[in-house]
Amino acid sequence: MVDLSVKLCNLSLDNPVIPASGTFGYGREYLDFYDPNILGSFSFKGTTKELRFGNPAPRIADCTAGMINSVGLQNPGVEEVLRTELPEMKKVFKKKVIANVCGFSVEEYVYVAEKLCADESVGIIELNISCPNVHNGGMSFGTDAKCAYEVTYAVKKSVTKPLMVKLSPNVTDITVIAKACEDAGADAVSLINTLLGMRIDLKTKKPVIYNKTGGFSGPAVFPVALQAVYRTYEKVNIPIVGMGGVSSAEDVIEMMLVGATAVQIGTANLKNPYACKEIIDLLPAVMEKYRIKSLKEIIGGAHR
């Protein structure tokens, strides 16, 4: 018998497989495919203070081994999430979830995080700091160590549950931002969010995406994600949740070997809605093949 369980902050997870924010809605869309309770947890759609429609269409582009999205945080707003989405979710998902929080100012992050923290289904707050900072010229919170520190510090003071900060790879050195978040009190970091990307439609000779650029994700970004987690593991002492292109049980193990305590899976779910179930089902056999008895024991193994 192999052991898939891991501990992330104060959460004991049956396995390290966690669908990533923005690819799993609030959990309901997958009920036709499998029972979500087989998952370690899941991270729900990025939630903001106010309702957001997001960006104009087209907001999806196909790429070699991946995709670009510029959904732009479409969500019903935190009050509506608390009033309808989470109660519906709780009927079908009995484990703790990860609440993905977005905002356009420090106050908004704090507001949304406090509200979601109060819901008993939430186990961890995941702060998505890739949003533009409206008070700072629109630059993303996550691309500046000082901004990242400030927002992490402010949210950490106002929540009682573990705080995980989700990092953008669109920076010169992701480890500097990770360290700033750790210094500000983050209990964990998750990485990577999407990489900036674009496609051109040869017929119109214009960008496919209305907003011109969007976030690139999927199997093509896996090597980028691995090095980001590997280097971050060397710089911080808090747990890391690894993601970016993970699509198989083997990928999960690679991600844990470079230092991930748990692994999020995003885009793979969109192509194959059974992706997380298949990965969980296959993990024991792949672990046996590589003589791994317990996933906990391989975390960061590539550094030793």
Binding site: G54, N69, V71, K271, N272
Partner: protein, 243 residues
């Protein structure tokens, strides 16, 4: 919703760029005409959404136009090939809408789902007429299928250049009806919506990430708030659409 491994029964060319692909397999159930499937194409990342043209318990017919890489690869499918599709997706047309006289208005490669719709409406005892618009004679598809199903006189074909049928737009050939169902290019559907007063249903397209409601990639703004074309649509009541 599930992924199905279907076998290609036939793949025929209908004209210079449009193909009729019949897939065979078990568990093919659709709740309404106008639903779609999402086709996984080896070598491409995202699946490609294609409407169901016609279906039986064991077959589904997809009619598609080659416009890019994915549809070009689908044109090469041979009898016996295995295709992974996610199905059934979307809401489909409401065949129980009030009124006896139904008018189907199709444009180009938007006509295929209207064929399956016509079959279901006839089963419900409705009087069905169709107006099918194309750019030019060589683009025409499914004309025979519609004529043999609905009767010669109940189908009007229009072409923009007058090379076949009536010259002009579908809006030049609309007839009085109780309920109108349309699928085609957005400007065509918009023109239809502006011209008629009856109950209208429109089938929309959008670039899709997942096709089953999880990613919000396909959303549109409607009078009732944000809606996902893949899950809340692709068919929308004309009253809620913001053109």
């Amino acid at each position: 919703m599930q992924t199905l491994m279907l076998t290609v029964k036939s793949n025929e060319r209908l004209n210079h760029d449009t193909f009729s692909l019949v897939l065979e397999g078990d568990n093919l159930t659709f709740s309404a005409p106008g639903q779609f499937v999402n086709v996984d194409i080896p070598g491409l990342y995202l699946r490609r959404p294609i409407s169901v043209c016609q279906s039986t318990d064991t077959t589904v017919r997809l009619v598609f136009k080659v416009v890019g890489k994915g549809t070009a690869l689908m044109a090469g499918y041979k009898q016996g090939d295995v295709v992974d599709v996610l199905s059934p997706l979307g809401n489909g047309f409401d065949v129980n809408a009030e009124g006896k006289k139904a008018l189907l208005v199709g444009g180009g490669v938007g006509t295929p789902p209207l064929l399956g719709l016509a079959e279901e409406l006839l089963k419900k005892g409705k009087e069905v007429k169709a107006v099918l618009g194309f750019n030019t004679a060589s683009d025409i598809i499914l004309e025979k299928d519609f004529r043999s199903l609905l009767g010669e006189g109940n189908v009007t074909v229009t072409t923009m250049d007058g090379s076949a049928g009536k010259k002009g737009l579908v809006t030049d050939a609309l007839e009085e009806c109780d309920v109108l169902y349309s699928c085609g290019p957005l400007p065509m559907m918009k023109a239809v919506a502006q011209k008629v007063k009856c109950k209208c249903y429109f089938s929309l397209e959008s670039r899709m990430g997942c096709g089953f409601g999880a990613c919000m990639g396909c959303s549109i703004q409607t009078a009732n708030g944000a809606k996902r074309v893949c899950k809340d649509g692709p068919v929308f009541d004309g009253e809620v659409l913001i053109w």
